[in-house]
């Protein structure tokens, strides 16, 4: 006994174990980075093809008043950000849906469980993919895509002497700050959806997507039939697409600027905190459940 070197305390080992587990997830799921990159490449190709019309469109935009002009010039960049954020959401959702199901399907859970890694570390490392890994990845991809679009636009507009109009109407730094804030908002807002997907992937023996969608849909239908109300359905819609409602003050015909961010209002929304609590409950259940799970 005394010849044995002292074991490091469990707490001291959790960090490297967690980091290695996250790395392991990235090795297995390269599509997390590849899928958004492919979408970005397609967008850039589209931007390149349509750039022949850019000088005409820009001349028209310059006829508008300042607010509308800025909005018109910003619009393609905003669309890129939104499309890539939706891509990231879909990638994250399907990642979660397979995270605890795939290891049972291919029986590798028997190998992972033969290592000194707790169920908590395993599930949290999987949860960290949509919450901690995807946001910075998607941020980098969006900023890079927008930057390349700016370069394309400058090159195309240079002969007509309009290259500068993009840079004066699109503030790269300010848009990056808005994007960074937006990604944090949407990630926190979607946390319970990722948590639910993780829990489903730990429960379902097959057809994970049906288990993801059917129970909430059934609940909404039940509420409609029984009480003729649709609170649950409204709540689901709000959860999917309502992240920006309290986090920004949108204005008609106007592109977003930094003064429209309302983090205080967002942080004081009960829906945010209730959602995070629900997410924590789903994740806790998924951790407890993994102890009972074997290969399918």
């Amino acid at each position: 006994m005394n010849a044995e070197s002292p074991n490091p305390s469990p707490a001291a080992r959790v960090t490297p174990t967690f980091v290695w587990s996250v790395k392991r997830e990235l090795w297995e799921n390269k599509s997390i980075c590849i899928a958004p990159a492919i979408v970005a490449a397609v967008i850039l190709f589209g931007a390149l093809v349509s750039s022949t019309h850019l000088p005409d469109r820009r001349r028209n935009a310059l006829l508008l008043d300042e607010v509308r002009r800025q909005a018109a010039i910003q619009l393609p960049y905003d669309i890129v950000a939104v499309v890539l954020m939706i891509t990231a959401f879909i990638v994250g959702l399907f990642y979660c849906l397979d995270a605890l199901y795939g290891e049972r399907r291919d029986r590798s859970i028997l190998f992972w469980k033969s290592l000194p890694v707790s169920d908590g570390t395993t599930v949290l490392s999987k949860l960290s993919i949509p919450l901690l890994v995807l946001p910075p990845v998607i941020f980098a991809i969006i900023v890079a895509t927008q930057f390349i679009m700016l370069l394309i636009s400058s090159a195309v507009l240079a002969p007509s002497g309009l290259a500068g109009t993009t840079w004066t109407n699109f503030n790269v730094l300010q848009q990056s700050v808005i994007l960074f804030y937006g990604l944090i908002v949407i990630t926190l807002w979607h946390a319970p959806i990722y948590g639910w997907a993780l829990l489903v992937s730990g429960i379902a023996r097959r057809a994970t997507f049906l288990w993801l969608v059917l129970p909430p849909a059934a609940l909404a239908v039940f509420e409609k039939i029984t009480f003729n109300t649709s609170y649950f359905w409204d709540m689901l819609k709000n959860r999917l697409g309502g992240a920006g409602d309290t986090a920004f003050t949108f204005q008609m015909h106007r592109g977003l600027s930094v003064d429209q961010l309302t983090p205080g209002r967002f942080l004081s929304t009960p829906g945010l905190w209730i959602g995070l609590l629900v997410a924590a409950a789903f994740v806790f259940a998924a951790i407890r459940l993994r102890r009972y799970r074997a290969a399918l």
Binding site: W27, L115, R291
Partner: protein
């Protein structure tokens, strides 16, 4: 402290009793073979020991409760639960990186040394390896972990004879020492006969025979009886009688060897033959279950 101590270990799935109050004690440095027909409860017993399933009764593995402390227990326990459970997408080098990252008792150099003796390349993905190579890879990882207990559930299932032979050879030559304990279940009984130090037969969730290999060799005798001594042989209450090439072969439990050599050719039976005899008259052996070696 024994490596494994179980008393009244019980597991039910609905109305099916998978383990029916098993008492078990495995000391350090033993190589225990658990032999039983399909569905006898072997894997259930191993899963309980590994903390993969909840159970009733008392179970203590290396001083820990497996169900509640699986992750801590796995620092000192390794297992190959089944062939081909290594993730198919992973590269050999990534697998070594990961295990080295999460396992404090994994010696990467050692694993690479074992792999160097095989055809396995570190740049390969697991899905590109043959079934035999996947088992070699898993064994290389497991043997590079300085564990106190190694559990192998049908580790050589579906492998060809060369891989199977090599599997147990490396296990004995490169891994086993008397501070480790190994538990193995297998249907390829003949391969482990010379490897084991202890033997358990399990059927319908119960232990029907439990002995050390010394006891096994001392107690059980197989006799190819001369045709004129058949009646005499039967009067000695053999466990079983079967025909081999027209000769009668009897299996005896605790009958004097000198007495038996008078009626035919005496030899130690194979575990497989004893297994068949015990399983076919299970109840007869049940009441004379031998004492566990202490």
């Amino acid at each position: 402290m024994a490596t494994i101590e179980a008393s009244g270990l019980r597991k039910t799935y609905g109305t099916t009793v998978a383990l029916d109050s098993i008492d078990l004690r495995v000391e350090e440095g033993r190589i225990l073979g658990i032999i039983g027909p399909n569905g006898a409860g072997k894997t259930t017993a191993l899963n309980a020991i590994l903390g993969l399933i909840a159970y009733e009764g008392k179970l203590n593995v290396l001083g820990r409760d497996p169900w509640n402390t699986r992750d801590e227990l796995m620092r000192d326990v390794s297992f190959i639960a089944d062939v081909a459970v290594l993730p198919r997408w992973i590269r050999v080098s990534q697998l070594l990186d990961y295990v080295a990252g999460v396992h404090p008792k994994f010696d990467r150099t050692k694993a690479e040394g074992f792999l160097a003796r095989t055809q396995i390349k570190q740049a390969s993905k697991v899905r590109e390896l043959s079934k035999g190579m996947v088992t070699q890879l898993h064994l290389a990882i497991v043997m590079a972990i300085d564990a106190k207990l190694l559990v192998l559930d049908e580790p050589t299932l579906g492998l060809d004879i060369l891989f199977r032979k090599q599997f147990y050879d490396s296990l004995l030559n490169d891994y086993f020492d008397h501070s480790r304990t190994i538990i193995v279940t297998t249907h390829q009984v003949e391969e482990v006969q010379d490897v084991l130090t202890d033997l358990i037969f399990i059927n319908h969730g119960r232990i029907v025979l439990q002995c050390t290999m010394e006891q096994f060799e001392a107690r059980y005798v197989e006799v190819m009886v001369h045709p004129d001594h058949l009646a005499g042989a039967r009067s000695l209450k053999p466990l079983s009688e079967r025909q081999v090439f027209g000769r009668s072969v009897f299996l005896f439990d605790q009958v004097d060897r000198n007495q038996l050599s008078a009626i035919g050719d005496v030899r130690t039976p194979s575990i497989a033959d004893l297994f068949v005899a015990v399983m076919s008259n299970h109840s007869q052996v049940g009441h004379q279950k031998p004492e566990v070696s202490k």
